[in-house]
């Protein structure tokens, strides 16, 4: 999968949920990726360098990696 695109998607979700406050935005971004992304997309973002993500998206992906 084109990981640049996946990073962009994760960041975009985080950016739109940010107004709900940090904790809710992280939870929301995590749930969104869990509920809407196909396994290979999840695997690709998990394998990617998380430092490239915005803070909320990074926290959400880390949450995803914990299952």
């Amino acid at each position: 999968m084109d990981v640049t695109r996946l990073r962009y998607m994760a960041d975009q979700i985080a950016r739109n949920l940010a107004p709900q406050g940090e904790a809710q935005a992280i939870e929301g971004t995590f749930q969104h990726i869990r509920d809407y992304w196909d396994p290979r997309m999840k695997a690709a973002i998990l394998a990617d360098d998380h430092a490239a993500l915005s803070p909320i998206a990074r926290a959400a992906v880390e949450r995803l990696s914990r299952g």
């Binding site: 999968m1 084109d2 695109r5 998607m9 975009q12 979700i13 950016r15 739109n16 940010a18 107004p19 709900q20 969104h32 509920d35 809407y36 992304w37 196909d38 396994p39 290979r40 997309m41």
Partner: protein, 947 residues
């Protein structure tokens, strides 16, 4: 059904709670107060001869044919204009009336050509019938006085003719155009004998006039004056079958009037609850594509896309395809396979395609074209209200006091609904339009929007949050409603958020370009003007913040208490005929039918038990992700039913590359569409005239589609999918589409009470139809939200990453027009092209002048992703800095320039905002030229005889 004209009670139905009882020809009859004597007589089985009355328009009282005698009253009043009164005693058949009616008829006939024997309307002409009914035998005045018999016939409209020599000046056509359609294209010029119907100015014919070819006047005309050309060519229909239009989400129902196996005409069905007897040019007339020479009726295959197509038998096509699917699955796993369902196909067909993907392919890689239109509606409304659908029926608009139209152009996109809306606006409801472009509704005959907020494209959330700011800070919120119906704590958070000064219209004005005072006035009007109803379209959803905008709209409806009753609500105007249904039927990769997440073990378990398979619990790929995955080799086979993703999806180059990378692309369609240029298997499809099933319109109304002729390709689409499933080894045995609907009802709680038998008996049903709502649900969230408490969602304006700059200084936004439909596969194959032969680029005069462009010049439209050329039309409908075009023609390929930016929640593409440059050009772009030659090459068919 044999052929009978639809019942006509002469004057419109009246809604009143007060009953009135009277006696007509010795029979007692009770009708609502306000009903005409003519209608009351019709309801008790009587018939009063009439010419100028028809029940689609208000009575006019001009022909004097419908005279009656009323005891205790002098004279002979016209029954069409006389309202009933309690105790009235009416006589409709007396010697005096017979004589009067005969003399009136004599006058009409003396100025009418006596060519009944050869007239195409003979046998279906009210003048002829009425002459017989009144017993006219002889015309005393002779036929050689002044008359209109020599007048020329206006044949300019491609679908109907106007023969003024047959006109009886009853003005039914004029009133139908005014009252039913709301276009006001026709007038009666002159008075008395010289009166004559004309379309617009004296020099106009129908084609050059304001006429939008809706056909209302043709349906209203009692003679052959206005008549479909097809009736002249084919002859009078012999039978009629009620079915549903296959174009847009209004879901008009029609009588397909047939002669043998030939469709003569489609006449809007008066009992249809979505359209109430009205239609637009597409459903009424543009069905000729069904028999177009381009239609492919034989299956075809090829090993690679640079080879010509080879016609094969169904058996060969299906076993070849199934073999390939099975081997790709064996080699790369189930998740390498997927399918795209069609919003043009029936619910039953969509159900089977998603079932084939989930149960047969074994993945959840199923998506639908709603991805590119209303996926944000599903997401936004389910988060806030708990259902992925509009809240009202169309009738509701007749109770609205303030109508807010956001990012929709109903007169073009949803014309029959627009006619209802316009009728309500003429009655005095107020209109707010939020749209970058001055759509027709902003100012049309007898209608003017109270506010037009011509926002900068891409700033919907900013505008709606500013409206919420005004409502909250000015104390206009409906607190009683919110406390009762919504989560109060969430409301508190949300209202504190929108009340921040940074959301005020004044602070946001530089972003939205909407004058703050205008925005404040619009917000006050929506909040305080009585019943407030919101209708929105793709101008809301096709943005990087599409889902946020839908949630902002839901917030506005909740904060003002405009939800849960007639006249209010949140109404997505859905694009395709069955886009609601295709979403309902489980076309999204993360959810099973009825919008239930695939991860839920209970729901998934119910499907697994019924289908006898185990299902993948993980969400599948959406269309754009399928294309990405194709490029990295993990997605290899795609079954596309009735969609043309190459033309309709953003960034054509990327779509083409994705398709090209796949091992197997199966296109199941009527025509070799653009996507088929990259296909290896072509399975011919059937039209809506050739199949039985159901469509669900924008008001959640499920209606029957009925087969009126045999499929030219031999199989209905659901039969093809079933045959493919069987070839893959699945034991599917549906005998008809009714059995598929039974399965839908068994597995989908909102459809629990739906069956073909019930739809046949009741005409239509609006989901949910279940134990709680046994007769369906015209209006939703009446006693509470489906999700429990309504949820206010905090949404903030996030600018799109698609920015203008020195290289791409203009914003392109896209849309569609009345006579064409989406990618135009159907409408381009009809005479509708007379209204729209090509896509044009609308540009503001100042932008055009800066670039040295004049009306009609060729221009090069370039974005960061690609470029195309098209002709410019200079207009101040668009603001400076904004350009607009449609995407109906493959030659233009407007999506070559659109980008892959998309809605953050659903990946619905951001079609409505692309930064572009426009410069003079003298011909097609390089891509257009190379694509045209590739496309021609790719469509070659080597006709090896198939059995």
């Amino acid at each position: 059904m044999g052929y009978e004209r639809q019942a006509d009670f002469g004057t419109p139905e009246v809604c009143s709670d007060t009953p009135v009882t009277l006696t007509i020809d010795g029979r007692a009859v009770t009708v609502p107060a306000g009903t005409s004597v003519m209608r009351a007589a019709g309801q008790c089985g009587g018939s009063i001869p009439s010419l100028c009355a028809t029940d689609s328009v208000a009575a006019f009282g001009s022909c004097r044919m419908c005279l009656v005698e009323i005891e205790g009253r002098r004279g002979t009043p016209a029954s069409c204009t006389t309202p009933v009164e309690p105790g009235m005693v009416v006589h409709t058949q007396t010697p005096k009336l017979a004589k009067l009616r005969r003399s009136v008829m004599e006058l009409y006939i003396s100025d009418h050509p006596l060519d009944c024997l050869t007239c195409s309307a003979s046998g279906d002409c009210e003048l002829q019938d009425t002459a017989a009914e009144v017993g006219l035998r002889d015309v005393r005045y002779g036929f050689d006085g002044a008359n209109h018999l020599g007048l020329p016939v206006d044949t300019s409209n491609p679908y109907f003719d106007f023969d003024p020599s047959k006109c009886i000046a009853c003005s039914r056509c004029v009133r139908a155009c005014d009252e039913v359609q709301g276009t006001l294209a026709l007038t009666i010029d002159g008075r008395g004998f010289v009166s004559k119907v004309s379309a617009g100015q004296a020099a106009d014919d129908f084609l050059s006039s304001e006429c939008v070819s809706c056909g209302a006047c043709v349906a209203a005309c009692p003679t052959a004056t206005l008549q479909e050309k097809a009736v002249k060519e084919i002859g009078k229909p012999e039978r009629a079958v009620v079915t549903t239009c296959a174009y847009c989400g209004v879901g008009c129902t029609f009588r397909a009037e047939m002669k043998g196996e030939q469709l003569v005409r489609m006449v809007p069905w008066k009992d249809g609850k979505a359209n109430r007897g009205h239609s637009c040019v597409k459903g009424r007339f543009a069905w000729g594509y069904a028999n177009h020479q381009d239609r492919i009726t034989k299956p075809m295959i090829r090993e690679s896309v640079d080879q010509p197509w080879r016609e094969v038998s169904w058996e060969e096509a299906l076993s070849y395809t199934a073999g390939k699917l099975n081997s790709i699955k064996a080699q790369y796993g189930a998740r390498a396979l997927g399918g795209i369902t069609s919003s043009r196909c029936t619910n039953e067909e969509v159900w089977l395609v998603q079932k084939l993907v989930r149960a047969g392919f074994g993945s959840n890689n199923v998506d639908t074209c709603a991805r590119v239109c209303h996926s944000p509606t599903g997401y936004g409304l389910s988060k806030t209200f708990g259902t992925s659908a509009g809240t009202q029926d169309f009738d509701s608009v007749m109770h609205a006091d303030v109508v807010m139209v956001i990012g929709a152009n109903p007169t073009d996109g949803h014309p029959v609904f627009a006619s209802r809306l316009k009728r309500r606006l003429r009655q005095g409801a107020k209109l707010i339009v939020i749209d970058p472009r001055r759509i027709d509704l902003v100012k049309s005959p007898h209608i003017e929007a109270a506010h037009h907020l011509a926002l900068q494209p891409g700033t919907n959330v900013a505008v709606l949050t500013a409206m919420a700011h005004v409502i909250v800070t000015e104390g206009l919120a409906d607190e009683a409603f919110i406390r009762e119906r919504c989560d109060w704590d969430e409301y508190q958070d949300w209202s504190a958020f929108v009340a921040q000064e940074r959301h005020s219209p004044e602070v946001l004005e530089p972003v939205t370009r909407v004058p703050a005072s205008e925005l404040r006035a619009a917000a006050r009007l929506y909040a305080t003007g009585g019943n407030g109803a919101i209708y929105y379209g793709l101008g809301v959803t096709e943005h990087s913040q599409g889902s946020s905008t839908v949630m902002s709209i839901a917030n506005l409806a909740m904060v003002t208490g405009n939800i849960g009753r007639s006249g209010v609500g949140v109404n997505p105007l859905r694009g395709q005929n069955n886009v609601q249904g295709s979403c309902d039927m489980g076309s999204f990769p993360h959810e099973l039918p009825g919008y239930r997440h695939i991860a839920g073990p209970e729901v998934r378990g119910s499907f697994e038990a019924d289908w006898q398979v185990s299902l993948d619990p993980e969400p599948g790929l959406r269309i754009p992700n399928m294309l990405d995955a194709a490029l990295d080799g993990s997605f290899r086979a795609l079954y596309v039913q009735g969609e043309d993703i190459l033309q309709s999806d953003p960034n054509t180059h990327h779509v083409a590359a994705g398709l090209k990378a796949m091992d197997l692309v199966i296109v199941h369609d009527l025509f070799l569409n653009e996507t088929a240029n990259y296909a290896h298997v072509f399975l011919p499809g059937s039209t809506f005239l050739e199949k039985t099933g159901t469509f669900t319109n924008a008001e959640r109304r499920i209606q029957m589609v009925r087969k009126v002729m045999e499929p030219a390709n031999g199989l209905e689409d659901w039969e093809v999918t079933q045959a493919l499933a069987r070839a893959m080894g699945l034991d599917w045995n549906y005998a008809d589409s009714a059995q598929i609907m039974d399965e839908v009802a068994r597995l989908t709680p909102t459809f629990a009470g739906v069956s073909h038998a019930r739809l046949d008996a009741e005409g239509s049903l609006q989901w949910p139809v279940n134990a709680a709502h046994p007769d369906g649900s015209p209006i939703m969230h009446v006693d509470g939200f489906v999700r429990g408490k309504g949820k206010f969602m905090v949404t903030d304006y996030v600018p799109t990453d698609e920015r203008t700059g020195p290289r791409y200084p203009l914003l392109l936004t896209t849309g569609r027009i009345l006579s064409q439909y989406n990618v135009g596969a159907q409408t381009r194959r009809t005479a509708n092209t007379v209204w729209h032969p090509e896509d044009l680029l609308e540009m503001h005069p100042s932008d055009a002048e800066n670039r040295g462009l004049k009306d009609g010049d060729w221009a090069r439209l370039a974005s960061r992703t690609g470029e195309t050329t098209l002709r410019v039309t200079v207009t101040d409908r668009v603001a400076p800095g904004v350009v607009y075009t449609t995407f109906h023609h493959p030659a233009t390929q407007a999506n070559v320039v659109t980008t892959e930016y998309s809605d953050w929640a659903t990946n619905c593409p951001e079609y409505k905002v692309t930064a572009v440059q426009v410069l003079p050009s003298n011909g097609p772009s390089e891509w257009q030229e190379s694509y045209a030659s590739w496309s021609e090459k790719s469509r070659r068919i080597s006709r090896v005889a198939a059995e």
